[in-house]
């Protein structure tokens, strides 16, 4: 089944709140070779004006992941995960994520384009904190390869 063009414009239910743990940020920071003291040391982060340690720039992918699972699981979506390649990724930040944040993500499919038998699905995950304030928008373009 090819990707359903009617997915364009669809908005999904907000994900369950994700509580950002300090050790999770440290674990992620080690994995992406992030050595800034602000990623690891609460005192350094507080001295720089943050309430706790700051997540590396690509950390929102951890929260975004749950929204992409929603997209792939959509019954009428027609997205075959074994044919999906990550094409593009973008993060647009209002502020950085810090330990203690409780984040909720809402996915919207912003565009579906067909190019040479492949489908390009662009999905925007809007991530807000426990007060509803915007933190970051994570945008992924997934390339779904067509039949050879």
């Amino acid at each position: 089944m090819p990707v359903n063009p009617e997915l364009q414009g669809r908005v999904f239910a907000p994900t369950a709140p994700y509580l950002v743990g300090r050790e999770k940020i440290r674990e992620f920071a080690r994995a992406v070779f992030a050595t800034s003291p602000l990623n690891h040391d609460p005192e350094a982060a507080r001295a720089a004006g943050y309430s706790d340690i700051v997540a590396p720039p690509t950390f929102p992918v951890v929260v975004q992941e749950a929204t992409l699972q929603q997209l792939l699981a959509e019954p009428d979506g027609g997205i075959d995960f074994s044919r999906v390649v990550h094409g593009e990724q973008r993060f647009s930040y209002t502020r950085a994520i810090v330990a203690g944040d409780e984040l909720t993500a809402t996915l919207a499919v912003s565009s579906i384009k067909t190019l040479g038998g492949n489908a390009m699905v662009t999905a925007e995950s809007t991530i807000v904190d426990q007060t509803g304030a915007h933190v970051v928008t994570a945008t992924s373009t997934l390339v779904v390869r067509g039949d050879e």
Partner: protein, 133 residues
């Protein structure tokens, strides 16, 4: 912060091993087997186990973060995944990042990243906008 258009503000080389991929899988939650199993990678026509694109994206911005001194000063960060990084089980993969000033205003700088593996660029349009405030 003093920077000029075209200036290289950071340059760094990262060596990825299979251990790095397992570590990133755990930290990110992306357990796609093409990132740690040769048999699975080969069965879907890949030349070998690949680094997660998001791992390459994640490490590529770190020299910029070190240069500005604060991860929260990154306002926007985007990449296009153009070529895979194949991680050899013995030798790993060496990824080189060069960060250059691509645009400059009083308030912010756009850093353009050139990320290469085996003499080929692996990320396209890799740009980070950073605040000077």
């Amino acid at each position: 912060m003093i920077a000029e258009l075209g200036e290289i503000v950071a340059e760094k080389t990262f060596v990825l091993t299979r251990d790095s991929l397992v570590r990133y899988a755990g930290a990110s939650g992306d357990f796609n087997a093409i990132h740690y199993r040769d048999d699975v990678a080969q069965s879907v026509g890949l030349p070998g186990v690949l680094a997660h694109g998001m791992l390459t994206m994640g490490l590529a911005v770190q020299p910029v973060v070190d240069w500005i001194g604060d991860p929260a000063k990154v306002l926007d960060y985007q990449v296009r995944f153009t070529r895979p990084v194949v991680v050899d089980p013995v030798d790993g993969a060496t990824v080189t990042v060069v960060a250059k000033v691509g645009a400059l205003t009083d308030a912010e700088i756009r850093i353009d990243l050139t990320v290469t593996f085996a003499d080929q660029t692996v990320l396209g349009k890799a740009q980070a906008r950073v605040s000077l405030a």
